[in-house]
């Protein structure tokens, strides 16, 4: 339950209006809403008894705990397997995915956060229209979305002890500061890594 990830994941999934913007200049903030209070009732006791960590998932102490096999479950974005667990936790292949739990009355499985990123076009850009068209294409074109990073993210986990499946398409998740894997990280056309030193044919179920 860190500021960057967990807070919005828990409160956001419940529909708590922490930052419910209705326009570029209006926002609803009401932490006394019942949708917030019910989250307090669930995660408060879990934090108090140490079940729920308050550390950032990239915090060194959290990584150490997870690497020690003490992570039971977490709300994470689809890219976290390839770019969070795999490089940091050293428990490749030990995790599977499940549908996002829902709060009472919820009609979908919205996680509230950590599922994507934002694209901005500067008003001072020399070509605002072209930049806007580019962003629209990247975020709405079905061909591009199908080939998006770490998707599909819900493939079945391999049987215990078996070799994980070869990676699907995948370049990088949106976390800042992480080197974005490129072509050199992917198996070549023959499905091997012989010609690409940093490539891996293994992957981690998110």
């Amino acid at each position: 339950v860190s500021g960057r990830y967990g807070t919005d994941a828990y409160y956001g999934s419940s529909g708590c209006p922490l930052n419910a913007s209705s326009s570029p200049t209006e926002v609803k903030i009401n932490v006394t809403d019942p949708a917030c209070a019910r989250v307090n009732a669930v995660i408060g006791p879990l934090m108090a008894n140490g079940t729920l960590s308050t550390l950032d998932p990239f915090d060194a102490n959290y990584v150490k705990t997870v690497s020690g096999g003490k992570l039971l479950a977490a709300i994470m974005p689809s890219w976290f397997g390839a770019y969070g667990i795999k490089p940091n936790y050293k428990k490749n292949g030990d995790y599977a995915v499940a549908a996002m739990p829902t709060w009472a009355g919820a009609s979908d499985t919205t996680s509230g956060a950590v599922g994507g990123g934002l694209w901005l076009v500067s008003a001072t850009s020399g070509n605002v229209k072209a930049a806007t068209d580019f962003v629209k294409a990247l975020t709405t074109d079905e061909k591009i979305l199908v080939a998006g990073a770490t998707y599909p993210a819900h493939a079945p986990a391999p049987p215990r002890g078996s070799r994980p499946p070869a990676p699907t398409r995948g370049t990088p998740g949106p976390r800042p500061g992480v080197r974005r894997p490129g072509r050199q990280d992917q198996p070549d056309a023959r499905g091997t890594c012989a010609t690409r030193p940093s490539c891996s044919t293994r992957t981690t179920p998110p």
Partner: protein, 33 residues
């Protein structure tokens, strides 16, 4: 801010709400409840 290890999460969230409200208003947002 939310944490305090969960011991007083209601107060922590109230404080958090006050801070983000102030920040939103300082940024020019119209804030409603």
């Amino acid at each position: 801010v939310i944490a305090d290890k969960g011991k007083n999460i209601d107060a922590a969230l109230t404080s958090f709400g006050e801070r983000i409200t102030q920040a939103a208003q300082a940024a020019g947002y119209t804030v409603s409840k």
